[in-house]
Amino acid sequence: MKRLILGLVLCLFWAPVGAVQPDEMLDDPQLEERAREISGGLRCLVCRNESIDDSNAELARDMRLLVRERLVEGDSNEEVVQFIVDRYGEYVLLQPKATGANLVLWLAGPMMLLVGAGIGWTYLRRRSQVEEGPKDVLSQHEAERLREIMKD
C-alpha cells in the first residue's frame, strides 16, 4: 500500500520529465518502435489515465522493460499485450476489449447515431409535409413588440 501511495505521489507530482529513458530503449529501431506502440496502449496502474509510455512512475518503467523483454524474446505484439493483461488484469488496457458488457460501450455511439438519424429524418419528413400552420397567434401588441425586437 505504501508503495502504491508513493507511486501515486510520484506519478502526480513527478509527472514531468519522465516516460521512456534512454537506457531502456532497444537497439533495434524496429523492435523499439513496436515497444512504443504497445506501451502507448497500456495504462500505468498507479497513475491517472496515463499510458506507461508517458508515465514516470517506477511501475511504468518496470512494465516498459517487461514489454521490451518479451519483444526481444520474440513475442508478437498481441502476445506481449496478452502477457501483460494476464499479469495485471484488463485494467491496463487503455482501449477496452469489445467483448461482453463492453459491447455496450463500443456500440453506444453507432446505435445512438442510428437513433438520432432516425428521429432527425422523421422530423425532417414531417416538417416538409405539413401545411403552413395557423399564420399567427400573436396579439397585435405582441406582433409590434416582436417586430421591434427582430428589426435588424
Binding site: F13, A15, V17, V20, Q21, N49, Q95, R127, R145, D152
Partner: protein
C-alpha cells in the same frame, strides 16, 4: 474583521437568492407587478454581496492572512503577487466562490440588459437563476466554507501547487467557469420559457447571446488548459481524454449544438422543444463536470477535492435541477408548436444533422467517461477507457461534421437545391482533395489521419471563404460589400475556418510528430527531422522560490542558427515538488520542443526532443473560433435585442399565455 464581513456578505447573498427564487416566481404566476419587480434589484444586491465576499477572500490571500485556513493551505508569503491572487481560485473552496460569483454576475446581466424581455419571462428567468444560486450558496456554506479560521495561525503558508503557478493554468479556471455557468443562464431561459409555455423567435434571439458568450468562454478555457498541458507536462501532449477534460468538453459540444439550433428557433421557429432540451442538458453536463471534478469519483490529476460529502451534495444539486428541468420539459414540451415548414434539402435539415452529430459525439464522450464506473459497479469488471478508444470512437463524428459543414452553410433556408449550393464549392473541393492527396504522397507512413485532416482543413477554410464571398452578390464593388457584411456572417465564417485550422493542427501533430530520446554529453550534437541540436551547457540556477537545472541548447538548420533554448527542471523546496519547463522554439509551421531530464550515471543528460508540425494551429484555430463567436456576439441585432431600447410596458401589457 474583513474576513467576517466577507463571510457575512456570503450568508446575506444566500438569503437574497432565496427571496429572489420565490417572490418573482409567485409574482409572475399571479400577475403581481410589484412582486415581479423584486427580481432585478435582488439580482443586483446578490451580485454585489457575492462580489464583496469574493473581494474579502482575495484580500486575505493578497495580505497572506494565515489565520484563514484556506490561505494557509494554499498560499505562501514568497509567492509572486499574481499567483497570490490566482491562488484564490486555485483550490476547491475559492473556486466554488468564483463559480457562484459568476452565477450572480450572469443573473445581474439579465437584470441590466433584460429590459426588453416580457416582465413575466424576466421575472421567471431571474427566479430560476436565483435557484441555481441558492443551491451553490448552500453548497459553499454547508460543505466548503472558504472563510474558516485557524485556531493557531502559522508563521507561513504551505504554498500553491507549483504546477498551478503558471499563467496558462492560472486563468484557465475563470474562463471555464464563465462558460459552465453561462450555460446556467440558458437553462434559466429554457425553464422560464417552459413555465411561460411559449418559445418564439424573440426567445431564440434573447437566449443566443448568453449561449454564445458561454461557448466563447468555454472555448478559451479549454484552449488555455490544453496549451498549458502541451508546454508544461513535458511531453507535448495537448489532449489526454482525461475525465476532467471530458467534463469540460461535453458541455462545449452541447453548447455548439445549442448555438446552431437556437438559430433555427430564431430564424424559422422550428426545433423549439429540441433547443429547450439541449439547453437543459447543456447545463446538466456543466454540473456533471463540477461533480466529476469535485467528487473524485473518477479521480485524476485535477481532482483537488476528493471528498464524498461534497460529491453527494453536488450530485443532489445536479439531480434536482436535471429531474426538475426534464420533468417540466416532459409536461410542457407539447405546448411548443413548431411553425416553420422546410424541405429535406435546406439549411434547417443540415443544422439538424449538425445537432445529431454533435449530440451523439457528446454522448460517446459521456459513455466513455463513465463506463469504468458503470462496468465496475454493474459487471464487476475493472477496466480503463483511454485515449485510443476516444480517438477511434469520437473522430468519425468530427470528420462527418467537417464534410457536411461547408455545404450546409451555403444552402438557403427553407428549400434549396443541392446542385446549386455545391456549384460554387466545386473548385475548392477539388483543391482540398488535391491538398489531401499531396499530403498522402509526401508522407512516409501509410496513416490516413494526416491527409484526411489536411483535406478537411482546406475544405472548411476555403468553404468559409467561398460562403463569405458569395454573400457579396454580383457586379461592382464586391470587396466593399464584403467589408460591410453583418458581423454575424463574418463570425460564422471565422469560427468555421477556425474549426478547420484546429483539425489541421490536431491531425498533422498526431500523424507527423517525431521524437528523439537520448543521452547527450555537454557539447555533443544530434539531429532531429533536419534540425541540428547541441547541448552547450547545463547549469544550476536559483529562482525566486525554486532551484533550477537549466540546459542551454542551440538549435540550427543547415548551418544557420535558429534559436538558443533553455529547458529547465525546477524544484520547489516549500512544496517539495519538481516541475519541468520545456523549452520551445515556436514557429508557424512547427514547434521544436526540448526537455532536459535526469543526469546519467556515466555522465551526460537524458534529453528528449520533439518535432511538432502545425502544433500552434490547434490553439490558433481555437482562438479563431472564439473570435468568430465574439464577432457574432457584437452583431448589432443582438445588441438591440439585448435591450438597449426599452418600451414602456403598460399595466395590461403582460402577454397572455
Amino acid at each position: 474583521m474583513i474576513i467576517e464581513f466577507g463571510h457575512f456578505a456570503l450568508i446575506l447573498a444566500f438569503l437574497v437568492a432565496c427571496v429572489q427564487a420565490i417572490v418573482p416566481l409567485v409574482g409572475a404566476h399571479r400577475r403581481w407587478p410589484g412582486w415581479m419587480a423584486v427580481a432585478a434589484p435582488a439580482a443586483n444586491v446578490q451580485f454585489l454581496l457575492t462580489a464583496a465576499s469574493f473581494a474579502a477572500l482575495t484580500y486575505a490571500f493578497v495580505m497572506s492572512d494565515f489565520s484563514v485556513r484556506l490561505v494557509t493551505i494554499n498560499s505562501h508569503t514568497d509567492k509572486p503577487l499574481l499567483y497570490k491572487i490566482t491562488g484564490v481560485w486555485g483550490n476547491h473552496e475559492g473556486s466554488m466562490l468564483l463559480w457562484v460569483l459568476i452565477v450572480t454576475l450572469f443573473g445581474a446581466f439579465a437584470a441590466w440588459f433584460g429590459g426588453n424581455l416580457p416582465p413575466t419571462l424576466k421575472a421567471r428567468v431571474l427566479s430560476v437563476q436565483a435557484m441555481v444560486g441558492v443551491a451553490f450558496f448552500a453548497f459553499i456554506l454547508f460543505t466548503s466554507n472558504p472563510f474558516l479560521r485557524m485556531q493557531v495561525p502559522p508563521f507561513d503558508g504551505q504554498d500553491l501547487n507549483p504546477l498551478l503557478q503558471d499563467p496558462g493554468l492560472a486563468f484557465h479556471p475563470p474562463f471555464l467557469y464563465l462558460g459552465y455557468v453561462g450555460l446556467s443562464m440558458t437553462f434559466s431561459f429554457a425553464v422560464a420559457a417552459l413555465i411561460e409555455g411559449r418559445v418564439d423567435a424573440a426567445w431564440g434571439r434573447w437566449v443566443r447571446p448568453y449561449t454564445l458568450a458561454a461557448w466563447i468562454f468555454l472555448t478559451i478555457g479549454i484552449g488555455l488548459g490544453s496549451w498549458w498541458a502541451y508546454y508544461e507536462l513535458g511531453w507535448g501532449g495537448f489532449w489526454f481524454w482525461d475525465p476532467v477534460e471530458n467534463a469540460s468538453f461535453m458541455p462545449w459540444l452541447i453548447a455548439v449544438a445549442l448555438l446552431h439550433s437556437a438559430i433555427v428557433v430564431e430564424k424559422r421557429e422550428s426545433l423549439k422543444s429540441w433547443t429547450i432540451l439541449l439547453a437543459i442538458i447543456a447545463f446538466g453536463f456543466s454540473m456533471i463536470g463540477a461533480f466529476i471534478t469535485r467528487s473524485g469519483v473518477l479521480t485524476s490529476v485535477h481532482a483537488f477535492a476528493t471528498d464524498p460529502e461534497r460529491g453527494m451534495f453536488l450530485l443532489m444539486i445536479t439531480a434536482v435541477f436535471m429531474l426538475g428541468g426534464l420533468t417540466l420539459f416532459a409536461a410542457r414540451a407539447n405546448v411548443l408548436q413548431a411553425k416553420g415548414v422546410f424541405s429535406v434539402v435546406s439549411r434547417e435539415s443540415f443544422l439538424v444533422a449538425n445537432n445529431v452529430l454533435l449530440a451523439v459525439s457528446a454522448f460517446v464522450v459521456f459513455v466513455g467517461t463513465i463506463w469504468p464506473l458503470v462496468s465496475e459497479m454493474l459487471f464487476d469488471r475493472k477496466l480503463s477507457v483511454g485515449a485510443p478508444f476516444f480517438n477511434m470512437a469520437f473522430t468519425p463524428f468530427m470528420v462527418a461534421l467537417g464534410l457536411l459543414l461547408p455545404v450546409g452553410a451555403m444552402l438557403p433556408w427553407k428549400r434549396g437545391a443541392l446542385s446549386k449550393a455545391i456549384r460554387p464549392l466545386r473548385l475548392v473541393f477539388v483543391l482540398s482533395v488535391a491538398i489531401g492527396v499531396l499530403a498522402w504522397a509526401m508522407q512516409t507512413g501509410r496513416s490516413g489521419l494526416g491527409p484526411v485532416g489536411l483535406f478537411l482543413a482546406a475544405w472548411l477554410v476555403s468553404g468559409a471563404a467561398v460562403d463569405l464571398w458569395s454573400r457579396t452578390g454580383r457586379g461592382e464593388n464586391r470587396l466593399g460589400r464584403l467589408a460591410r457584411l453583418p458581423r454575424a456572417d463574418w463570425g460564422k465564417a471565422v469560427a468555421h475556418a477556425g474549426f478547420g485550422i484546429t483539425i489541421a493542427g490536431v491531425a498533422a501533430m498526431m500523424a507527423w510528430k517525431t521524437e528523439d530520446i537520448r543521452v547527450v554529453q555537454e557539447g555533443e550534437s544530434f539531429e532531429l527531422s533536419g534540425f541540428t541540436l547541441v547541448l552547450e551547457d547545463v547549469q544550476e540556477v536559483q529562482g525566486p522560490n525554486y532551484v533550477s537545472t537549466m540546459g542551454q541548447v542551440s538549435l540550427s538548420r543547415d548551418g544557420t542558427e535558429i534559436a538558443t533554448l533553455y529547458p529547465e527542471k525546477r524544484f520547489y523546496p516549500v512544496a517539495r515538488m519538481p516541475t519541468t519547463e520545456a523549452a520551445l522554439d515556436i514557429g508557424f509551421w512547427r514547434d521544436v520542443y526540448v526537455v532536459i531530464g535526469d543526469p546519467q550515471s556515466n555522465g551526460g543528460w537524458a534529453v528528449r526532443t520533439y518535432y511538432k508540425p502545425l502544433a500552434n494551429w490547434i490553439w490558433g484555430g481555437s482562438i479563431l473560433m472564439a473570435l468568430g463567436g465574439a464577432l457574432s456576439l457584437s452583431d448589432r441585432r443582438y445588441r438591440i435585442a439585448a435591450g438597449a431600447r426599452k418600451t414602456p410596458t403598460v399595466a395590461g401589457g403582460v402577454p397572455a399565455e
